[in-house]
Symmetry: C2
Subunit: 222 residues, 2 copies
Amino acid sequence: MNTKYEGFETPGITVDLSIFTVNETRLKVMLVRRAEVPFQGYWSLPGGFLKTSESLDAAAQRVLCEKSGVSDVYMEQLYTFGDPKRDPRSRVITVAYIALIPWQSLPQPASEKVTDLTWASVDALPKLAFDHREILSYAVKRLRAKVSYSNIVYGLMPKQFRLSELQSMYETIIDDKLDKRNFRKQMLATGLLKETGKKELAGAHRPAMLYQFKSKEIVFFN
Amino acid sequence: MNTKYEGFETPGITVDLSIFTVNETRLKVMLVRRAEVPFQGYWSLPGGFLKTSESLDAAAQRVLCEKSGVSDVYMEQLYTFGDPKRDPRSRVITVAYIALIPWQSLPQPASEKVTDLTWASVDALPKLAFDHREILSYAVKRLRAKVSYSNIVYGLMPKQFRLSELQSMYETIIDDKLDKRNFRKQMLATGLLKETGKKELAGAHRPAMLYQFKSKEIVFFN
DNA sequence: ATACTAAGTGTACAATGAACACTAAGTATG
DNA sequence: CATACTTAGTGTTCATTGTACACTTAGTAT
């Protein structure tokens, strides 16, 4: 270890992830139960220490994959939290990330009861470890804002979907109702969707056209 | 030092600042000349290591004050850069900040020639140390974007100003011309400005009303 | 055959944004 | 002191965008 930082901090660096999904018209976030002190038994955001020669993005990807079993999903850096007292043990700075996973992409939980991982509705959160409540609030705020000026919801949709499902996704996240005709007009006007030609199979009602995104690119409007 | 981080990184943490001002209708950023290796003699963004028990924001404030002599200006965290190779000596993670200073608030440089600090036009930058070019590109991008959906330019204006000066500030940052009548209508419609009652004193032309901001609050439009 | 469910479609009006040119109030000059 | 010069200040028209709103269609279930 070099001596370059005498008198300066050499804190631990972690990444913490707000991993979102939508299920049953609720915006949900992944929480893991802490096995160790401090905050033993508390729910917390999944996270972990940065490894040697690992970039921040790579660390976030690693944590994502470890906890969710998926990769290749939308992820972005959110903010860095560095209050000297945020970890009671010692100085730890955390770089927070947001990730989005379509509910359909999640592997089914193993049949034995998984009690150390849960998906909590963001409007019914338990007490969280560290400053994770603050981090999560900020993440939800960013997500809600970004939904209205980008096509970030792509990250939460399955490969193919009905327009009504897409509308429901928007409504769940922004927690408001949208007009069906206007919504469809606007979505199709973006030119980012294409019909698959296929129609929904089942249901005691008129079958819906299935759509998909032309590309995975995230675009900003306005 | 605890042993908790064995096998993990305990990198140095720095803050690096993109300190912007506008002068002579140019968007400028503060650069400092590096006295030491690596990148000795190169221009770089002002920055410094995080001190013990110092929050990230406090560190950024400290650096800002050391280099510019001002405090109480607009500042926000930008992004955290953590590529393992970004510092050739050893692992250093930097939390980048943006700050805005009205040109009029800057203390005059001491009369002896200051050669280790400069204000460079963002479209005529010298070679920069480390990954500071990348950081600065991102900062400029964020600033330009934010100008169009917030009143962030407040941070660059003097206490009192003419509407034509405000317009010029916008035009400089977004690098485009605006329509005078529409601009005035829109600005006054925000309700964030108030007349001071005073008029500009000098000039071989009709004197302009001076305005100021009702509050320092940053507001988002749309 | 009828009831049920979600899909799918167009128009009228309001609000917002964009283009555009002249008069007003001072100072400087001959 | 008349004229030239400079920047301040002001409204209207038109195009575009956004918003409110209700009925028909295509399938399944009974």
